[in-house]
Symmetry: C2
């Protein structure tokens, strides 16, 4: 089943202990759609500037991603500059230029209308909501957000959360959104805001899914649904953490969309595929690794993740 | 097979967001032996003061732990006071009184001599080494240490590490011991110091085992041994984190000692039992939860940990 994703397509200038890159192709929608494209059809809604050229288009085209919803506007593309010199787990932002994104009005191509899966990547919740409402017939909606929207755009974000099946955020965002430092209590607080499932991304420690109903958990009477935890690969070298969370989301949602039935087993495998795609993303700068990946490499790493965690 | 453990038996005064307790029975050897006692015979070497009475003895006796190696010396038992008010993952130490521990000279009862497993809990590496050398015939030796010994007693610690089969420490200690911030590289650095296996405890994120040989990993040609990761249970409430790492070690090593053959599968289950025992320890203050636990509860939680991580 096809996924429509709305989010940023951007240029990133990144410095990490492994080196630096100027103006790599980045943005949440880019990482998400590249990761998801290994599993299912992906359609992107975004806006770029006049600096987005043939070479960038080719990155999407090579992976068969539908970019008819990437609008070109006068001006420059969204630009982010950040570094991870002290801490690979947290970016230090040096510059954010919204550029054409400042006046972005998402338009959904008619060809996207039959998408059954919708992913609202981390952008202004007002825009997330608008896209959600323009696609009322989707079967499953997932989304992401960040500290900025949690802190200063709580009301608009609250409206988005009510319409989400699955929210994917990190530990800090979960604690901030619920105002509770205990992860389990915070997870319950976030689930009470609307999403039926919460996937908390722990960076190098993997991710945990919490459930408010039994859609994705094994049925057992008289028990609250158990969480599920997928590992991350202990990595020799993290070249660039940028986009790891969006790549997790792409692998997770892409795999889920590729499955006929949304069973608990499919959900669990999707969590593993999310971790797998996140682990590849950080091996090279920007989207370099995702661009040249093969399905065979992905499935080999899935098997490795299984061995890493399974008793037999 | 029986385990001999050398380490501290102490009194702890603890404050956490859940409350406070004065002078609970604690110490690494206490948590370790209680946790291990659910799986195998445990024999303790330690020193206590005149304040260690019938009630404390009964805690060991009730679990069938051999305490003939707990020497009683004139003076007071080791005392530690700490709090976790800001951060449940890291204790703030307010007071440490070594008391009778300051002049501790471990003596090994003749009845302990046929122990096949030896655990060197976190004490002065000079003492760890002395016990190791006094028990040359043990089949498997594991140990723990802490930042204090890593920082200021590097040489003595180095001698201990050379004689260890398995070292169990946390993330911070691993990075500090290797002088490397990347966990995988740090793990390799620590393995180069002697231990054949390194188990890194991640607190609420579980634990990862790294291997320098294939004793505990599945055989595959031409590949470096994969790590193995056991989860931690996402906990609703952590009442008192004290002793979680020692309880992990006790569950892990106790289960391993209970197995006839030290296979990779036994090692993996041991990692899970370690996580299980750590997760129980933090549910109540001090050793309260470990004292009243049943093997049925332990096995039920083992099954829960399996469900929490396994694809099917």
């Amino acid at each position: 089943m096809a996924i429509t994703v709305v989010g940023s397509v951007a240029y990133d200038s990144i410095e990490t202990p492994a080196g630096k890159r100027d103006r790599c192709l980045g943005g949440a929608a880019t990482y998400f759609s590249l990761a998801a494209s290994f599993f299912t059809d992906v359609r992107v809604i975004a806006v770029v500037g006049e600096d987005f050229g043939k070479r960038q288009e080719a990155v999407f085209d090579k992976r068969g991603i539908d970019r008819r919803g990437i609008e070109r506007a006068p001006g420059k593309s969204f630009f982010w500059q950040g570094s991870y010199l002290d801490n690979l787990n947290e970016a230090k932002t040096h510059q954010t230029d919204l550029n054409v994104f400042a006046s972005f009005e998402p338009k959904i191509p008619a060809e996207y209308a039959d998408s059954e899966f919708l992913f609202l990547a981390n952008i202004d919740p007002v825009l997330q909501r608008r896209v959600r409402e323009a696609m009322p017939d989707v079967k499953l909606v997932a989304g992401d957000t960040m500290n900025y929207w949690i802190k200063d755009h709580r009301e608009a974000l609250g409206e988005v959360l009510k319409g989400l099946d699955i929210l994917l955020i990190n530990d800090t965002e979960t604690r901030m959104l619920a105002g509770n430092n205990n992860l389990v209590q915070a997870a319950r607080g976030v689930l009470a805001l609307g999403p039926r499932t919460l996937v908390v991304k722990h960076g190098e420690y993997g991710a945990t899914a919490f459930f408010s109903d039994r859609s994705f958990t094994k049925k057992r009477e008289g028990q609250t649904p158990h969480p599920f935890r997928a590992p991350a690969l202990p990595l020799e070298e993290v070249v660039d953490p940028t986009g790891a969370g969006d790549s997790f989301a792409g692998g997770f949602f892409g795999y889920l969309a590729s499955q006929g039935e949304l069973t608990p087993a499919a959900f669990r495998r999707a969590m593993f595929y999310g971790s797998v795609m996140g682990s590849f993303a950080v091996e090279r700068f920007g989207t370099e690794r995702l661009q040249e990946l093969s399905r065979k490499e992905i499935d080999d790493r899935f098997i490795l993740f299984r061995e890493l965690t399974h008793l037999d």
